[in-house]
């Protein structure tokens, strides 16, 4: 049949409209059911491709089987007449039709039910079978001769009517997903070349949409899993922090576990190696490690005694500036690494009568706290004489201490950070108290902390 130019262009316009409308509907969803519904509706709707019945089958590559996923359309003449008369009553646009939910209608119809029951094992099909050929050759077939029906699987033949059939592969970008089948039963309008092209384009759209939906679901699931993970992590972190802050016993346990158990594990491990080793150099090295770990434990115990016996042990005239400089020397590496400046403002000759080790301990703890709470910035250390006291100030530009934590900060084993043991300020406040001095802490979050210590001259 020769079409005039006008007819041809009208047809082309219509086809473009169809493609546009269908692909827009498909792109708007990541829901597999919706995608299948739109595809099947587009194949069969009167205002669209106008085929009688359509079905989508999925291909399971591993098992090499094809199974019916979804079908639409009447089973026989009677059902066809009923469905089409109902559709013609409701004058709706294609856009509206593509949006409507098919599930209820399909549940009561025979053809969709039969499609869902189809399972075909490709291994059992002959090479001439069209279903097998679609999967293997990845080609489109348009069957017009009913004698060719012998080359279709038995389970499909059961509901065929003498009509034209198209069978085509459903592709994703990487793989074959299944088969789309459609026929022109009951109305027998011929399936022409332009319909063939439209069906092929529709099948490509569907394949891409199904693949995207799959990606979307995978990403969504990963997102949900990560969210769950993140929540679990938060809960555990909070619980650990709470347990550690809850009781002095809990805090002490944490302290001893970390400070004593770790060296013990190392000592025990290396001792066992020595008991099994023959090489003298290995034995020497391992014994040396054991020695160092034991020294570490001794130092920890010394630290514990520092806050158990806080009375001044050996009082002498202590030059404050000298002590501060000695303490800062210890932190040189960390100060440089974190780009922290030290600003000391003390008269050369300020001195006080005290135990030098304890004064060092105070300054060591205060400076160490400041460094831990900072990244870049300045620590100002100053001292001045105020009546009968020396006021020593350590002021940093660090992240500060939460207001609610300040009243507790000198309690033993109280720490605002996981992994902190909360002994530093406890030691400081006890030493200061022993000297009948006074401790003041002011802090503003994100701005910094100032600690003032008053010690009698």
């Amino acid at each position: 049949m020769i079409k005039t130019f006008e007819e041809k262009s009208r047809l082309l316009n219509y086809e473009l409209y169809l493609l546009h409308t269908i692909s827009k509907a498909i792109k708007e969803t990541f829901n597999e059911k919706r995608i299948l519904n739109i595809t099947l509706t587009a194949l069969t709707a009167n205002g669209a491709l106008g085929l009688s019945r359509a079905a989508i089958f999925y291909y399971d590559k591993e098992k090499n089987i094809i199974y019916g996923k979804k079908g639409i359309g009447p089973f026989d003449e009677k059902e066809a007449a009923q469905i089409w008369s109902e559709l013609s009553k409701n004058q709706i646009t294609l856009e509206e039709y593509l949006q409507h939910n098919l599930e209820e209608e399909l549940a009561s119809q025979k053809f969709p039910q039969l499609i869902k029951q189809v399972i075909i094992n490709l291994d059992e099909l002959p090479e001439t079978d069209y279903f097998k050929k679609v999967i293997v050759e990845k080609k489109f077939f348009h069957i017009t001769d009913i004698n060719e029906f012998v080359n279709l699987p038995d389970k499909i033949k059961g509901f065929l009517i003498s009509s034209e059939i198209v069978i085509m592969p459903l592709f994703s970008s990487r793989d074959i997903l299944g088969i789309i089948m459609a026929d022109n039963a009951f109305h027998y309008n011929p399936i022409d070349e332009s319909t063939e092209i439209l069906i092929s384009l529709l099948s490509i759209q569907t394949g891409i949409a199904l693949e995207n939906a799959n990606y979307y679901n995978v990403v969504k699931q990963q997102y949900e899993e990560l969210k769950e993970l993140h929540n679990a992590m938060k809960i555990l972190q909070e619980e650990m922090a709470k347990q550690e802050r809850l009781s002095t016993i809990g805090k002490m346990a944490s302290y001893f576990i970390h400070e004593i158990k770790n060296p013990l594990v190392t000592i025990g491990g290396f001792a066992k190696r020595i008991s099994e080793a023959n090489d003298l150099s290995v034995i020497h090295r391992d014994a040396n490690i054991i020695f160092k770990e034991i020294r570490k434990m001794e130092q920890i115990l010394n630290k514990l005694t520092t806050f158990t016996f806080l009375a001044p042990l050996k009082t002498e005239r202590v030059n404050l500036k000298e002590v501060i400089e000695e303490v800062i020397e210890v932190f040189q590496f960390e100060l440089a690494k974190k780009q922290i400046d030290i600003d000391i403002n003390i008269l050369q000759d300020i001195s006080l009568k005290a135990d030098k080790v304890q004064i060092s301990e105070i300054l060591f703890n205060l400076i160490s706290n400041s460094i831990e709470n900072m990244n870049k910035g300045t620590i100002k250390i100053s001292a001045e004489i105020k009546e009968a006291f020396i006021k020593i100030s350590v002021q940093d530009t660090g992240k500060g201490i939460p207001q609610e934590a300040i009243p507790h900060i000198t309690e033993p084993f109280y720490s605002t950070k996981i992994g902190g043991f909360g002994l530093g300020l406890f030691i400081v406040s006890n030493i200061v108290e022993n000297y009948r001095g006074r401790l003041e802490i002011t802090s503003e979050e994100k701005k910094g902390t100032t600690v003032n210590i008053y010690l009698p001259i």
Binding site: L226, L229, K261, G268, G269, I418, G419
Partner: protein, 120 residues
Amino acid sequence: MKNKKILLIEDEENERLLYKEELEKEGFSVTCCENGSKAINFIEKEDFDLVILDIQMPQMDGIETLGKMLTKKRNLPIIIYTAYPQYKDQFLTWAADAYIIKSADLSQLKDKVHSILNTK
């Protein structure tokens, strides 16, 4: 067969040495690092078969490290190796494949590594 690769995260230097040498004796290839942020860098650049992680490390805490690792490699097997016995249940419900309490006797750790990596 190529050696299975283990990433060990432990802040104590001597402990690191002990575990590294003992696991290498078992035939594993062991990469060590002393904190969580370095471990994350390693994970991004290299594929490991197993991670052994100490909770309560300086800088990036062990839990945070664990979270970040799982975000990057969801299926990476992880053994929590720690001095703290009290958090076992919480960890096993969501993240780690095993939770082992540190001991001078390393046989439990070695057995677990072998069983996770299917090497014995």
